[in-house]
Symmetry: C2
Subunit: 653 residues, 2 copies
């Protein structure tokens, strides 16, 4: 009865996921992006991986020449697998018809590179290469298996058993043999295998994959890896998962590990482990998360910073960390049913995941800064770009984990919209969609969701099919509505006000019944906790779930965003074409550095800002920035009252 | 007639340096640190380099086993050379008697590792190692020669020709042969050879070393190195030295290169090149320098950030960059005579170079953050520490360039105090000292400087010997005195007020004459340029040249520095034991993260800070922080008026 096309398929938990055959996104914000993903990004990723030789690595391995011909970084195999996963999810959906043969063709390239015992990695283990598992800290061998297995699981669930599935199972069997009790009792420097093995256990029903995942979770934090210069926290090897207080170290690693820990906790009914991850999520969200939902503030090691170290101009906020954060929040939502997890997923999807790809789906942000001071230069169309320059989206990176991660996330996105339990259906994310499921035996439900969210706050849910019994429709009321009016209109036309959390409507629905949710889409000022030092004296604008930013292309006379001062005592207003207009002024910096040879001066020589004409500052959704060419950009806007602009500064240091 | 013991010995320029045999520091701030350096740090560095095998690499090379036994990073040789340079300068000064045999012993270890053609590097070129010059981007071979040659030059000038000098000359000859016209027409990824070759030319009179240095300067910026992921600016290979507008990329690399460019410009009378470096210095000081004088705000690539990207909590401010900055400023001061270069050198010496070593000279900061949010943990006494953790000073680092760089700087520090020209003597840095020189034929001068600077602002200069003709004594009036009263009392007791710049006194001095300079040592508030976003709404305290900071060990009840709010409308005052007391309050953050599950909230729900009792906040000199155990620390202190502390924050993201 239940769908099998499930990106995540827990056997326990408060909510049950719906499959990709039960939820269809039919229009709006995500439909546009998913169409581009299916028709452009998948081909783009494959073409680039052919061009830069990452697919060719498998051919070279099969032909015995990979020790001299291998291209790309040690984890290049994983991006081929992530592309396969994206293709596998998309294959059963719109524009998916051509994908099965493509998956088959890629599988045919990979298959001959697998060794008889299941080992599969183009960077290790052959004559002339480093030995297998000789560099668990940095080699990414198990990480690559993780993505291979996830691709295999996706193929199994969305397309059925084929050669890719067999390759993945052989690899998983090899992992259990090599890393099981009495084997190599260590972990991989980059978590990912954990969640993959649990999914494989869920899909195959084989306990040993789950046991191996649980082993990896338990081994982490026990110093089985060498202490790197970044510190053991980089690999989350500083302390066990179940005693850690917060996510730390390399952000993608930390978030994949936490997702895997939730999977293990759910399948083994380990409430302590689940509670540990919830605690870490709470501390991370409260102290180590950007307004966009982005995570990771260190460029050096792509890691979380200390609490409240969230510099907007050095935000790393890697796209893959956002993908991983959504994976984690989704798992926690299924396990607990608590809407706060869907709140963070929404914020992260709209403000990081949606920010990464260009409008044509052929260029990406790897890092997602909240403040760009210099206009970017056009990235190379031919050569891999550096990952940490966030001036303009780039077609491919030397470390190119993000494009394929965006691709697989957009391909499986419909699954994040809704869930079911024994009493009905829950809507978590709002998009124009059709939902058809059965929440209990014989209890078939079909819903038509109509909305232009997040452009518009009105969401209409029409009941197209309903059992002849009362059931419960649940709607998430986003946390960002706090303090504003939220209205629910039931099929009888009765209206009630809602507060953030979960709104429920239990009744005997009839086909044609309409429920309407009105979310307040008035733009509003948001301020930071005073402990976030780097944005003291600034404010930002949100409208619905979208974070806005100032971008230089919207300023007059070639001015840059650092000239913007805002007046948060005046409410921002909707402007044309999805923009917001904030009240403020432009205080351009002096043209040349001779204004001050030394940028610090006695406070008593700091005057007030010169009078600047009040003007409307046009703001655009953050996810859309840099779509109109090189620009400067900032999310956090200094308030006029904190500007100590100034008498002539000192002239010598 | 002129001293030969000159750390930098230009043949042209506005001012002439004095030698280490002409200036002696006799007491006070620097004398204490120099004593510790000579009696503890030199031994400490040698002992660690024996322990971690960097000295042993030379033995292994001579014994043909270095390809398997080599220890440390690719540039480990250079730290042995920097130690030798430090020893060479110290050998003729206090506590220097035992150093000549130590230099000889180390030289005996190094000598057998040099190959017949002069090549000398323990990481490259032997069977089983990478070939010579096969990795100019990262191999540091020419960088290591640079430090070897600097050690040889120091030995020549301070001790006379010996085997070390011969090794260095053979290496330099090899460099000219290998990298001259028609040779490898490329540069080293890490500049340093340039300034070393110019010094060798100055010391030997051989033009070809200067020509080779000029070639390296001209080749830089012409893409002779591969484009690294950090971008070509990392290696300063993005554009030629003479067209660049600002220092950029890896900070130590940029500053060493600029120092070498000044050396070449001076010796070749290339005014355009000199002007280019001055322009870069100006832009860098105006936009890319911390209040402490520290440079480099990126941890990722140890590089300068964009203009005004100067986050205090992620300040890298590498100790070696400070050493290199002082080297550059000193060269520019000699070339131009402009006091602004001595101003920056003073700031950097007192607030970065002096901050690095512990009081016992056996532990060091590699990076010098301006804000520490977490108390540090004790670094290992046995194993190399990570370089970028600035919680507590560490005895040694895996990348341990800084300790030996501090050691050589302290050893040659007296040379930075004063210069001469045809008309007299110039005092640039104030310390209790004796100066004896001859500024022109028969014009012998001896000066006794008495001061407790920077503890006290009174500087007395007694004339102990003077020619029977009028001459000019020049005194730098620091830029930091701007707006405060500076008084000069001449030998007749006449007083005059001074403004920042250079004060001159031209007269017929007689032995026993005393000149007194009174510098204003009242602590004062300093504010940042509004373009430095990361310190908006904060102020810092300086007293004389010293930057102050709040440190948790001075706060009551185990509070952390992030609780500090200050009131800059009240002037800070001197406290006991060199402290300063600022008016402010303590607004401790809530104890636990449940205060806010999400650290951003609607601005209209942000209230004002709770009333907090006004109290005196004790501040200590920044250079002394972390000398009393683990602590939190901050230089930039939020002002109470910018604290939006607050009604209960939102509870969900």
């Amino acid at each position: 009865m239940r769908s099998s096309v499930l990106p995540v398929a827990p056997t326990r938990g408060r909510l049950r996921p719906l499959g990709l055959d039960e939820v269809r996104i039919t229009g709006g914000f995500w439909a546009r992006r998913r169409e581009v993903n299916a028709t452009a990004t998948l081909d783009h990723c494959r073409d680039w991986m052919e061009r830069v030789g990452w697919i060719g690595n498998f051919r070279a391995a099969a032909q015995g020449r990979v020790h001299r011909d291998r291209r790309g970084r040690e984890f290049a195999d994983s991006d081929v697998y992530k592309l396969l996963e994206a293709m596998a999810w998309q294959a059963g959906q719109e524009h998916g018809d051509a994908l099965a043969p493509q998956i088959g063709a890629l599988t045919d390239v990979i298959a001959p590179a697998q060794e008889p015992d299941g080992y599969l990695n183009t960077a290790f283990g052959r004559p002339g290469q480093q030995p297998r598992y000789s560099d668990l800290e940095w080699g990414h061998e198990l990480y690559c298996y993780g993505h291979l297995i996830q691709a295999g699981v996706a193929r199994t669930r969305a397309g059925g058993e084929d050669e890719l599935v067999k390759i993945a199972r052989r690899a998983a069997d090899h992992v259990c043999a090599a890393f099981g009790p009495g084997g190599i009792e260590r972990v991989c420097g980059h978590p990912e295998i954990e969640t993959a093995l649990v999914e494989l256990a869920r899909t195959t029903g084989e306990q040993r994959y789950l046991d191996q995942a649980a082993l990896f979770i338990d081994r982490r934090g026990r110093h089985t890896l060498a202490d790197p210069e970044f510190g053991r926290a980089y690999h989350q090897d500083d302390q066990p998962v179940r005693t850690a207080a917060v996510l730390r170290g390399h952000a993608v690693r930390a978030l994949y590990l936490a997702a895997g820990a939730v999977d293990v906790a759910v399948e083994t009914a380990d409430d302590d482990l689940l509670a540990a991850v919830v605690r870490q999520w709470e501390a991370t969200v409260a102290r180590r998360t950007y307004l966009t939902g982005g995570m990771g503030s260190h460029h050096r090691d792509e890691s979380f910073g200390d609490d409240f170290v969230l510099p907007p101009d050095r935000a790393y906020s890697e796209t893959c960390a956002a993908v991983a954060s959504v994976m984690l929040s989704w798992r926690l939502l299924l396990a607990t049913g608590e809407p706060r997890f869907a709140d963070l997923a929404e914020r992260t999807l709209f403000n990081v995941v949606a920010t990464s790809p260009s409008e044509d789906g052929r260029a990406f942000f790897y890092a997602n800064t909240l403040h760009r001071r210099r206009r970017g230069a056009a990235p190379s169309a031919d050569v891999e770009s550096p990952r940490a320059d966030s001036g303009l989206r780039a077609p491919w990176f030397a470390v190119s984990c993000c494009p394929t991660n965006v691709a697989r996330t957009l391909a499986l996105l419909p699954a994040y919209l809704a869930t079911a339990d024994d009493h009905g259906v829950q809507l978590h994310q709002y998009a124009d969609a059709e939902i058809a499921t059965s929440f209990a035996a014989g209890r078939d439900v079909a819903l038509r969701v109509r909305t232009d969210y997040p452009g518009d706050g009105s969401v209409t849910v029409r009941i197209d099919r309903s059992p002849q019994h009362p059931w419960t429709l649940s709607l998430r009321v986003p946390a960002w509505t706090a303090g504003a009016a939220v209205l629910l209109t039931d099929p009888d036309g009765a209206r009630r006000s809602l507060t953030p959390g979960t709104a429920t409507l239990t009744r005997l629905f009839r086909p044609g019944d309409e429920i309407r949710l009105d979310l307040p889409m008035t733009p509003r000022w948001v301020g930071p906790d005073p402990r976030i030092d780097s944005v003291r004296g600034t404010a930002a604008v949100q409208r619905g779930p979208l974070v806005y930013c100032a971008e230089s292309v919207d300023l007059p006379d070639g001015q840059e965003v650092d000239a913007v001062r805002v007046d948060p005592s005046t409410q921002p207003e909707d402007g044309p074409d999805g923009t917001v207009v904030a009240s403020g002024a432009l205080v351009p910096p002096p043209d040349d550095p001779s204004d001050g040879a030394w940028p610090y001066r006695p406070l008593d020589r700091i005057g007030t800002a010169p009078a600047a004409e009040r003007t409307g500052i046009v703001l655009v959704p953050y996810h859309s920035w840099a779509n109109r060419g090189p620009s400067t950009m900032r999310v956090w806007l200094p308030t006029a009252t904190t500007d100590p602009r100034t008498a002539p500064p000192g002239t010598r240091p």
